[in-house]
Amino acid sequence: MSGPEAPLLLVENLYRHFGGGSATVAAVDGVSCAIGRGEALGLVGESGSGKSTLGRVVVGLDAPTSGRVLVAGLPPRRRGRPALPRQVQMVFQDPAAALDPRRSVAASVTEGLDLSRRQRERRAVELLEAVGLPAATAGRFPWALSGGQCQRVALARALSMQPRLLVADEPLAALDASTAAQMLLLLQGLHRAQGLAYLFIAHDLTMVRHLADRIAVMYAGRFVEVAPTESLWGRPVHPYTRALLDAVPPPVPPVSRAVSPPGLLGEPGARSAVGCPFAPRCPHAVGRCRVEAPALRAFGPDHLAACHQAEGLPPWRLR
């Protein structure tokens, strides 16, 4: 993180509960984090872990139950309505649904800009070229574009606001492998060359690794581990992080069949209301884990994890 100035994104003790009474679901259950200027934070976790809810609260699409979000020093909502500063933009998983089918690409890309018609056309072409699309795309409509092209258009629209932070919610999940790789390189280029910061939400750790400076692992609404990318891959502490890394397909398949069960107990998403939320699925859980929630503790430079049993776990070894 950079220097004494305020971080670009500050999340303090954030809660977002849905429903009420005994049916309350804590989608985000006490999360604090910061993203520095030009920093890429990867956010991984399974469906239902609350990662998308956190992203929506950060950009002001949803209001927190309690806690605070500051983007460049300002809250993303005012008087209960989204008032997102231009410096933060979002792209979503389903690019086709994010674009208005009746608007041309040029109109979509420049919709937030106060420009004359000629300036608008010129700006649209600049933005499209910045995301690797030919100028001729400007006059086309979303239904005539592939999924990868739509995602580039959605990105160009986000970039039209000249954001400093881009919240990207599974932006590659709907794309083919090679299209996703193209998109990932594009996002990487914007990060490295222009210092665009990211909250990059994904369930695929390998994709996140290529982009993120730091990775936060979320389970049942809480951060269970936050660490610099290489530290997380090299020395994962939390049993859930280890299970996620174990589930990554090996780059080269071994000679013998490689599938082994993920080594977790219970059903995905199983959570405990008291104690460690991961305890029902954790093969290493002991009595204390079921009654006392672990707090994030330091296990190395910038490397935090929330696990009572961390010291007693077997040494980590990637398959």
């Binding site: 399974e46 999940a173 996703a180 290529h210 090996p250 000679v255 599938v259």
Partner: protein
């Protein structure tokens, strides 16, 4: 004799814009107890081929060629004959698992219905069997899961319920379209683990269709690489990863995250309506020579185990060897 023998399969669709040929002569065999993965990007024809094998093409679709299952021709079989094969002999799982489940019936009743029909079981025996199948796909505890409705289940649980329905008739062959797409990594791993266990314990053969080479690598015996309606390379998993012969396969491997520097394939997949006379990958291939765009190559043998072949001029017996890809560990890069 192969369990499934697909020969020169073509699939075309009548569309308002003209006839669109999605599959252009695919041939492959699946042996009993073998897992074959078909890998390709959107538009490669892999899903259309799967639907054609099952006789499930939409009304504007047409399949030609031959699909023989246990010696029986499926493409010309009537609805009654197909009905006896589907479900009982060939199980299927589609990408949209929710669409395969009935929201008004318990999961146990849906699995039991299939078991009762195909295995000739009474209602009580069918339900007991259904619970065993739910347990086998990891839906624990099966007794409770059998009594639940699918509506409130997560995507991963629905996918496994659809898998349980596909497996309930004890098929000899399972066809699965993107069996792990959209699933969390640990769930995807559990699904693949179950599939692999069924292969080894029950001798079931499987055809898995996916766009993700990395996912299928750990469970497949053989891999077919589809591009623009053709199988451009086929071989054992080891040959595909260590000795990729087709430049497209090598490029796909380079685009996999987690293998070092990302090297995406430039450009996009071609529009099937406007394919030229040559190799469909030529325009994106950095090893293409002048002839590649003029005429299409046949499948030529490539080094490695028997059956490793590539549709690429560089493997033509008369092509100069130094041009060939696949050297240096399967990566082709600038």
């Amino acid at each position: 004799m192969a369990l499934l023998a697909v020969a020169d399969l073509s699939v075309s669709f009548r569309t308002p814009g003209g006839v669109l040929t999605a599959v252009r002569g695919m041939s492959f065999d699946v042996q009993a107890g073998e897992t074959v993965a078909i890998v390709g990007e959107s538009g490669s024809g892999k899903s259309a081929a799967l639907l054609a094998i099952l006789g499930l093409l939409p009304s504007n679709g047409h399949a030609a060629g031959s699909v023989r299952f246990g010696g029986q021709e499926l493409l010309t079989a009537g609805a009654a004959a197909l009905g006896r094969v589907r479900g009982r002999q060939i199980g299927m799982v589609f990408q949209d698992a929710s669409g395969a489940l009935n929201p008004t019936m318990t999961v146990g009743a849906q699995v039991a219905e299939v078991a009762a029909r195909h295995l000739d079981l009474g209602p009580r025996a069918a339900l007991a069997y259904a619970r065993a199948v739910l347990g086998a796909v990891g839906l624990e505890p099966p007794r409770r899961r059998a009594g639940e409705y699918p509506g409130r289940w997560s995507g991963g649980m629905r996918r496994r319920a659809a898998l349980a329905i596909a497996l309930a008739g004890r098929p000899r062959l399972l066809l699965a379209d993107e069996p792990t797409a959209g699933l969390d990594a640990t769930v995807a791993r559990a699904v693949l683990d179950r599939l692999d266990r069924l292969r080894s314990e029950a001798g079931m053969a499987a055809v898995l269709v996916s766009h993700d080479l990395g996912v299928v690598a750990s469970v497949a015996d053989r891999v077919l690489i589809a591009y623009a309606g053709r199988i451009v390379e086929q071989g054992s998993v080891g040959d595909i990863f260590a000795r990729a012969a087709h430049p497209y396969t090598a490029a796909l491997l380079g685009a996999l995250p987690g293998r070092g520097v990302l090297r995406p394939i430039p450009g996009g997949t071609p529009d099937p309506r406007y394919l030229g006379p040559g190799c469909a990958f030529a325009a994106r291939c950095h090893q293409a020579v002048r002839g590649c765009a003029l005429a299409e190559p046949a499948a030529y043998p490539a080094p490695g185990e028997d059956g490793h072949s590539a549709r690429c001029w560089l493997w033509h017996p008369d092509a100069p060897a130094p041009l060939r890809p696949g050297r240096g560990g399967g990566h082709v890069g600038p």
